[in-house]
Symmetry: C2
Subunit: 164 residues, 2 copies
């Protein structure tokens, strides 16, 4: 049983900052979104991912991957958003196990209305703290961390076609 390696000064600073950001940033964005439209940051992201998808629909599993959520969590949330008329569930024609979530026109209108305020909040709470070099460094470092947390995370997918 070896002695654990405790954190050095930089490691501790980086870790404590990450912990604080993790608590404060979603809380602030949740507050803004809740005031603007009674939805959470996670709800918003579900709608946003669908709005950017081809045909404005995605299988539940793919939507779960793109929001870093469990299928269970997503299922509950989709039910809620469905009750508000912002999306629908449909069976997938090719595979009867698959359910797809479709953004409705009302859902599209909702997110289109919310987006400017949300982007403004992301800027003012997060990006405006940084100069362009910081943003580039953070993108690079952030993706390293993501790849350690989930090797196959969707944001790491390259969009080139696989070799023939």
């Amino acid at each position: 049983m070896t002695e654990p390696r405790w954190l050095n000064a930089d490691e501790r600073r980086a870790w404590l900052a990450q912990l604080s950001i993790n608590t404060l940033l979603p809380a602030a964005l949740d507050t803004q979104l809740h005031a603007a439209g009674k939805l959470s940051l996670f709800d918003y992201n579900v709608l946003a991912m669908l709005s950017e998808a081809e045909g404005r629909y995605l299988p539940m599993s793919e939507l779960a991957a793109r929001t870093s959520a469990s299928l269970s969590r997503l299922s509950h949330v989709v039910t809620k958003l469905q009750n508000r008329g912002w999306l629908e569930r449909r069976p997938h024609p090719g595979d009867a196990r698959v359910t797809t979530a479709h953004l409705t026109d009302a859902g599209m209108a909702t997110i289109a209305g919310l987006a400017p305020g949300h982007v403004e909040a992301v800027r003012s709470l997060f990006l405006d703290a940084l100069d362009p070099d910081d943003v580039a460094a953070l993108a690079r470092i952030g993706e390293k961390i993501v790849s350690r947390l989930d090797t196959d995370h969707w944001i790491l997918r390259d969009n080139t076609l696989p070799p023939a």
Copy 2:
């Protein structure tokens, strides 16, 4: 009403990575801590902050600040941890409005037992993804973001004495 400035490529990468880290990292650490001792990352941090405090106690408000939590959230959690015998509430002698949370010996033993595994998890999920320059950059950038989210955040306090 001006057109919102949408995110450029680096901004989008940085933001999406931050979002994913925000979801995946606490989830992974919660899993490890829950397996090791049926507590959450937040519970752990409450105990950790107390264990590092002088006298192993802090006023509720100060503890809330050091865990980036609302007083309400903290109050519920302290009740839970108190029921497990890991800490106690006591009135503050100087100001009857103040409650202090004290780490018990049992609480100290708990966190001492958990710490090596937790630190190891933080390393393997987070720090080990990065080289020392990355860690230093992340510490610097992270503190910039924290200061924008909360100007008076405790991790930004300098420990030098105020001018006479």
